[in-house]
């Protein structure tokens, strides 16, 4: 690549590439913001990042472009997905605003800020550019390395310290210190007896219910769903599917169909009840 000085324009290929990929990047960004499920957001963001990696490469930042793909899109976004999985993959956020005026203020600020930035960039006289040709003359990675280990060596060292600190910090934050001996099953059962609640084992999901999926609460004998039947993690994520209303609707429809079919009158249930009492 021949060094190119003070160019006024890039190649048409790059321009084409820019317009296509920039559209993709913006759509990705918007999807990141507006997708209901965080998994979708994460994936959109990953897409945007890959586009950005391409742009880095196009701008002569080969090292950064690769790092962007490997480290950012590869590692960091995977970390995101991991956490999303931990918190609840399928949990869909409500996009309904709860703070009064927040959305409008946010949009106003965003638009205002954007307009100002655009105006600022537009105002700057950026008609010509140098290009990275000379800077990358000895190879991009070598160029970066020579800067990092000379001019920016202290900053580099400090970032190293920062990374270690961050790693340690993350460990400290997520690690739960066990301050006491783990309790044995016996002790746990004794405690349950002492507290006097849920002495028998927790009911399994789907008991008396029409479904047996793990996220559907089992029905108690009186027909009310019991959240105890669903695993704690799902409960905390709020991912319990409540099918009781649906089930009741189904039941009603079924009964109605049965009545139509059998031409029963509404008296039947009462007689049934009476006979039940009589049997007692």
């Amino acid at each position: 690549m021949s060094p190119q000085l003070a160019a006024y324009t890039t190649s048409t290929g790059e321009a084409f590439q820019f317009w296509v990929l920039a559209t993709v990047a913006v759509i990705g960004a918007l999807c990141t913001v507006f997708m209901k499920k965080s998994v979708h957001s994460a994936l959109s963001l990953a897409g945007t990042m890959i586009v950005l990696a391409v742009f880095y490469l196009a701008n002569g930042a080969y090292f950064l472009g690769i790092v962007q793909i490997v480290v950012y899109t590869g590692a960091i976004m995977m970390l995101f997905l991991f956490v999303v999985m931990l918190v609840g993959v399928t949990a869909a956020d409500s996009l309904k605003e709860t703070i009064k005026g927040q959305r409008w203020l946010a949009l106003l600020c965003g638009i205002g800020f954007g307009v100002l930035l655009f105006a600022g960039i537009g105002n700057a006289s950026l008609k010509e550019f140098d290009g990275t040709g000379r800077a990358n003359a000895n190879g991009n990675v070598e160029g970066l390395a020579s800067l990092i280990f000379t001019k920016y060596v202290f900053a580099f060292e400090i970032t190293g310290a920062l990374l270690i600190t961050a790693a340690v910090g993350a460990m400290v934050l997520t690690h739960r210190e066990r301050t006491e001996r783990a309790r044995t099953q016996r002790e746990l059962s004794e405690q349950r007896i002492r507290e006097g609640k849920h002495v028998p084992p927790l009911p399994a999901p789907g008991v008396y219910a029409r479904h047996n999926a793990v996220d559907i609460a089992g029905l108690l004998p009186d027909g009310t769903p019991s959240e105890l039947t669903v695993s704690k993690t799902l409960r905390e994520r709020g991912q319990i599917r409540d099918v009781s209303a649906e089930a009741l609707g189904d039941l009603k429809a079924l009964e109605q169909r049965a009545e139509e079919r059998l031409e029963r009158t509404a008296i039947e249930p009462t007689t049934f009840k009476r006979s039940e009492e009589a049997s007692k």
Binding site: I99, Q102, L105, A106, C109, G110, G112, F113, L116, L117, A119, G120, N123
Partner: protein
């Protein structure tokens, strides 16, 4: 000899201090201590008098510098006493009459459990009054001036458990304070004008100042005199002051304190002489008051209030005389002294009557007392003859001279003033005859009170009658003693100066006219109260009578304008202070509170909200940067 002047004041002051702080162990002897110290002061006075008589007329002024009182740059107030003929006259009157009244009070207050304190107050009064007349500068005079006011306040309100007495005392002090305001402004004017307020420099160089200044000083002094001497328009307190024990009325509100105004004007003669306008104001006040008091005196059924009206009227005569300038000063003082005798005698007589009548003061419930209390009747009668100016008695000499002097003022003023004085003489004769007839003549009209106690009129004990007799002797012979050979005139002339006026009418004509007025007054009274029986319940009376009973509505005016108005003013000010002045501050506080309450709502705790603010702030920063670059 000069040290004796200080002792004059010190003796009663000591008495007051001992009696007021001594506690109950002095209860049994307290009254005698008080009387003794008062008499001691009188004796000192007599010694000093003898000393003065032994000197030439020009050297009869003794000055005693006690100590430097308020030394401030440019402002030297010294505690200096001055004894000259004028103050000597007063000293003798005050201590003499004062001692007699002390003696009388021993009997009068016998059954009062707080008698010791009463004598303490009386002694305090004597000390203050002596300070008033002995002071060598106006500021020290002011101390005495307010001191007598305090004593008067304490004594009027002596029976504090009676709300009326407490109110009367407060009223007296307040009205006097208005007068005191005049005195203090006068002193300030003197200081601003002369740089001092000692008698010597001020009176000696009075004419150095402009007439306007002098008139202002004179008018302020007149205001002071009006307050103290119960002259219109500040006369309203004197009638109520009769709530005090009768000896107090005799001593303070007849013989001595109320005449302090006359003393002040005569003492400041040099100022008034150079300020004719102020003098005119003085005479007008005197003339108006002498008629006002006389009219009020005619309508009152309360014996003490009738006498109070009379006092007002007689002091009106004195003020009138004092306002006439050098032609009247001496006669003002002479009338003051004779009035001291006969009015004190009359009050003591009234006290004696009340003493015998279970403290009844309504004359319509007296009648025919002359047989029950012969000594009181005779002494009261002599006082009566003296005050109406019966020829040969003291009132005749002193009052006649004042009427003559009023005519001698000359011009229209002279005629008006003289005429007022003559009219006053007639009214005096009327109301005094009325008092006399209602009390001592006619049928007995007293009835048992609601408890069934019928009064048993009886003569008072010796300790009370002796002072009355002494005063009666004074009222009979005092005037003649002073006037024959112009003794009093020659005595006072070096201090007050004297000039004969040019009367448009001869002295004998005036005397004759006075006699005619006298006869007319007595005659009308006789026709109304002597020949007819006096109704025990007051008839409704004419409009004028009813107005006069209410002090010619002056009190009502005061009540409506000053009391009610003042109450409204203070009440609204309290409201203003609470709502407006305080409200502005509280409003500011509430404003800030409300504002911060609103601001606090922005702090809703949501991180996103804060983020919006941050973002908005960042946008603003960008905008500011761009703007700066654009500019």
């Amino acid at each position: 000899m000069e040290n004796l002047i200080a002792l004059l004041i010190a003796a009663p002051l000591l008495g007051a201090a001992v009696l007021l702080t001594g506690g109950r162990r002095l209860d049994r002897v307290g009254h005698w201590i008080g009387t003794l110290l008062s008499a001691a002061s009188f004796v000192f006075g007599l010694i000093l008098f003898a000393d003065l008589l032994g000197k030439n007329a020009e050297h009869r002024t003794l000055i005693k510098h006690l100590f430097s009182w308020v030394p401030v740059a440019g402002f030297q107030a010294d505690a200096t006493l001055r004894l000259d003929q004028l103050s000597m006259t007063f000293v003798l009157l005050i201590t003499g009459v004062g001692s007699l009244i002390h003696l009388y009070s021993v009997g009068y207050m016998e059954h009062d459990e707080r008698r010791r304190r009463f004598f303490g107050y009386l002694n305090l009064f004597l000390a203050a009054m002596l300070l008033l007349v002995l002071a060598d500068n106006y500021l020290l005079l002011y101390v005495g001036w307010e001191g007598v006011g305090l004593a008067s306040y304490l004594l009027i309100g002596f029976w504090q458990h009676k709300p009326s007495a407490a109110t009367a005392a407060k009223k007296a002090f307040l009205v006097n304070r208005v007068g005191d305001m005049g005195l203090s402004i006068a002193i300030m004017l003197m200081f601003a004008t002369y740089g001092t307020f000692a008698f010597g420099p001020v009176l000696g160089h009075a004419t150095d100042a402009s007439e306007g200044k002098l008139t202002a000083i004179g008018l302020m002094l007149l205001l002071a005199a009006c307050g103290k001497s119960a002259q219109v328009p500040l006369q309203s307190w004197l009638g109520d002051a009769m709530e005090g024990p009768t000896p107090v009325s005799a001593l303070i509100h007849a013989a001595t304190m109320v005449t302090a105004g006359v003393y002040l004007i005569v003492r400041s003669g040099a100022v008034f002489n150079a300020a004719p306008d102020a003098q005119l104001a003085v005479t007008v006040v005197g003339a108006v008051t002498l008629l006002f008091g006389a009219i009020v005196g005619c309508a009152k059924d309360d014996i003490k209030k009738a006498l109070a009206g009379s006092t007002m009227s007689q002091i009106g005569y004195m003020i009138l005389a004092a306002g006439l300038g050098p032609i009247g000063y001496v006669f003002a003082i002479m009338h003051l002294v004779t009035h001291g005798f006969f009015k004190a005698g009359l009050f003591l007589g009234a006290g004696s009557v009340m003493h015998g009548m279970n403290d009844e003061v309504d004359m319509r419930k007296y009648g025919g007392l002359r047989t029950y209390m012969p000594v009181t009747f005779v002494t009261f009668g002599l006082g009566y003859l003296a005050i109406i100016g019966f020829p040969g008695l003291s009132g005749f000499f002193s009052k006649d001279k004042i009427i003559e002097a009023a005519f001698a003022k000359g011009g229209t003023e002279g005629w008006i003033l003289g005429g007022a004085a003559l009219l006053g003489a007639a009214i005096t004769a009327f109301y005094m005859t009325r008092v006399m007839l209602m009390t001592f003549f006619g049928e007995k009209r007293w009835q048992p009170d609601e408890n069934g106690n019928e009064p048993h009129p009886h003569e008072s004990p010796r300790v009370m009658t002796i002072p009355m007799i002494v005063l009666a002797v004074g009222s009979v012979f005092g005037g003649a003693f002073f006037s024959i050979g112009d003794r009093f005139l020659h005595w006072l002339e070096p201090v007050t100066g004297h000039s004969e006026g040019h009367s448009p009418v001869s002295a004998w004509t005036v005397t004759g006219a006075t006699m005619v007025c006298l006869v007319i007054g007595v005659g009308i009274a006789w026709a109304q109260y002597g020949r007819r029986t006096v109704p025990a319940v007051a008839p409704r009376g004419s409009l004028l009578t009813r107005a006069a009973r209410r002090d010619l509505l002056q009190d009502d005016f005061n009540h409506v304008v000053l009391v009610r108005g003042g109450e409204h003013l203070t009440r609204s000010l309290v409201y203003v202070d609470h709502t407006l002045v305080d409200g502005v501050v509280n409003g500011t506080a509430a404003g800030f509170g409300g504002l911060s309450g609103r601001m606090r709502r922005l702090q809703n705790g949501f991180a996103r909200s804060y983020a919006v603010s941050m973002f908005g702030g960042a946008a603003l920063l960008v905008a500011a940067t761009l703007l700066m670059r654009a500019v």
